[in-house]
């Protein structure tokens, strides 16, 4: 495996950062003011990105044209890293992942699209209702995918509840960082839970951390 792209499989934010940096490389203007076009297309057309839920998947080519999932976890970014038989690596950003999975017709075989459609990514995209053990490199990764599926289900349920009733299109987690909420005064709720701590606190500090 190419050690130099290890971080892409460690955290979704590294995958996203890499995609953004590549977009910046191909641009003639080094100070890009707008997000790369494919990013906004994806976000506006795909509920997976809008819902903040994504999946990072790492697959290994085990024989020519046949793949198994070796690492997979829910993230806020979607992306695929393919470890090829010849030791090279292919990085598939989220806007290309969809067509790869959507284009899959058959659920048999171990082609890249099929394997992805049979794993957690396919589950999120509605391509399967139960992930297939056959596409995983080992039983542990398969078992983990069960827990991850529950995590994704829970997450989706809560986000739907949270965003129901709000106006505007939700466009990914970075966009709602600065939606400030108004102060509540300290009060006891009917159940005896207390809230409103630090509501009057604005010590004029930029940060607490050091």
């Amino acid at each position: 495996m190419d050690r130099d792209n290890k971080m892409l499989t460690i955290g979704g934010i590294f995958f996203l950062a890499n995609t953004l940096l590549l977009g910046c490389d191909t641009s003639t203007d080094t100070d890009i003011q707008k997000p790369p076009q494919q990013q906004s297309d994806w976000e506006s057309s795909n509920t997976m990105a809008q819902r903040k839920a994504g999946v990072i998947t790492e697959v290994q080519e085990v024989s020519p044209g046949e793949y198994r999932i070796i690492n997979e976890y829910p993230s806020t970014t979607t992306g695929v890293v393919v470890q090829k038989l010849d030791g090279s690596q292919e990085i598939i950003p989220q806007e290309k992942v969809r067509s790869l999975v959507e284009g899959t017709r058959s659920t048999t075989g171990f082609g890249l699209g099929t394997v992805l459609a049979s794993g957690l990514l396919g589950y999120m995209m509605g391509k399967n209702t139960s992930v297939s053990p056959l596409v995983y490199a080992n039983e542990n990764i398969y078992k983990q995918s069960f827990r991850n599926r529950e995590l994704i289900d829970e997450r989706k349920k809560e986000e739907e509840k949270q965003y129901a009733g709000r106006t505007g299109v939700y466009r990914g987690w970075t966009n709602w960082w600065f939606g400030r909420s108004s102060h509540t005064s300290k009060s006891s709720s009917s159940s005896g839970k207390k809230t409103g701590f630090f509501s009057g606190f604005s010590g004029g500090m930029k940060s607490f951390s050091g």
Binding site: I10, L20, T76, L151, R155, T195
Partner: protein
């Protein structure tokens, strides 16, 4: 100091990732477009130092508890019980701390400046931004000592394993709530990043500003989702414990009950405040006299030695005063921490570059040393000092 130039990353990309601090008007060049070059041996020495020191901090923490040193540490008495409850139970895992070091390059020995144990900053910069600088400049990621993100992810998994309930029920998904006050962008960057790491580690996560979180001594920590109260097993909150003790004593009482009733785990744990108080630097000197990683520290100015006066619970380089061997003030910074006790730490020259900027190394610790980065400033290193990533040469 060996410094190399790199192509800067367009600020729009930082914003896309949610890193907003950097673009604030007061700090237009917060991320340096240079990297500090270190050797592999220097990098390893920083790591060994952090690992060795952390064990020493645990001994010193135990000493502080055994000798009831809360007053000496300027720790409010209403935090004593929650500190001791968290100290006694291994499920209260210390998620993250950052050692600040003088030296370590240019042949200068590594010396501990302090441990930011409670609410350390610069997580985003060390975990992600310096890696992005390498990528952007076609450098290899193995030329950096940086496993911070990966180690934090492992620490969240470890946290689950250590939990009295979730450790025994592998199939269950724990819930973690991430909170900060709603005016600090820097703290919110950090909090949101931790939320993402926990989610990837298999936690159900959510975010809520502190003033909207619900607390109950008998029930735990909650967020209201519509009509429903959602209970959380973990609460991450980069708010210093001494602020909770002083500003919101009622909350301190409820949190103590919550810990005693095993209703939630707090991140960082309350005992992090023992490591955060700079009084521990004096205890370390008493317990490990002459240790090569320690600078002489006392509660009085050091006799015939230049020293740095700092406040026990001062942060971000505030209320720091540099004294010469005769006790004259050479440099000082303002701040809001005058009421705290002073400690006096032996002065040591920080490594300096050709432009007269001093460099301080930061090494993160989460179960083990896991990420290195630098801050630089012409005077005393503080909150707005520039962040400088690093690059390791002679890596085989």
């Amino acid at each position: 100091m060996r410094i190399i130039n790199v192509n800067p990353i367009p600020s729009s990309i930082f914003e896309e990732l949610g890193f907003y601090w950097y673009t604030s008007p007061e700090t237009p060049n917060y991320v340096a477009d240079e990297l500090v070059v270190i050797t592999e041996a220097e990098g390893e020495a920083y790591y060994r130092a952090a690992n060795e020191l952390y064990d020493m901090f645990i001994e010193a923490g135990q000493y502080a508890i055994d000798h009831d040193l809360y007053d000496l540490f300027d720790i409010p008495r209403n935090l004593k019980e929650m500190i001791e409850v968290s100290w006694e139970d291994e499920s209260h895992f210390h998620m993250i701390g950052r050692f600040d070091f003088a030296g370590g390059v240019d042949g200068k020995p590594i010396k501990l400046v302090e441990l930011n144990a409670d609410t350390p900053s610069v997580v985003f910069e060390i975990a992600l931004i310096q890696w992005m600088i390498l990528k952007h400049n076609k450098m290899k990621e193995e030329n950096q000592f940086n496993s911070l993100y990966e180690t934090l992810k492992e620490s969240f998994i470890r946290l689950k394993r250590l939990h009295p309930y979730f450790g025994k029920h592998e199939e269950k998904i724990p819930r973690a709530l991430f909170s900060c006050l709603n005016y600090s962008i820097e703290d919110e960057n950090t909090t949101r990043l931790f939320e993402q790491i926990a989610y990837e580690a298999g936690f159900m996560t959510d975010f809520q500003y502190v003033d909207k979180v619900y607390f109950s001594s008998n029930e735990g920590i909650f967020k209201k989702n519509g009509e429903e109260d959602v209970k959380f097993d973990y609460w991450f909150k980069p708010i210093p414990y001494e602020y909770i003790g002083r500003e919101e004593p009622e909350l301190a009482g409820i949190l103590t009950d919550i810990l005693k009733n095993k209703l939630a785990i707090l991140l960082n744990p309350p005992y992090a405040l023992l490591f955060q108080s700079k009084s521990i630097l004096k205890i370390l000197c008493d317990l490990f006299p002459g240790h090569p990683l320690l600078l002489e520290t006392d509660f009085e100015p050091l006799k015939d030695k230049a020293c740095v006066e700092k406040k026990t619970l001062g942060r971000e380089g505030a209320n720091v005063r540099i004294l010469d061997a005769s006790g004259n003030t050479l440099l000082n910074t303002p701040g809001d921490y005058e009421t705290y006790r002073s400690i006096y730490q032996e002065y040591v020259d920080l490594p300096v570059d050709a432009q007269g900027r001093f460099y301080q190394a930061g090494v993160f610790f989460s179960y083990e040393a896991c990420g290195l980065g630098f801050r630089r400033e012409k005077g005393i290193i503080q909150d707005r000092s520039q962040f400088v990533g690093h690059f390791i040469t002679n890596f085989s």
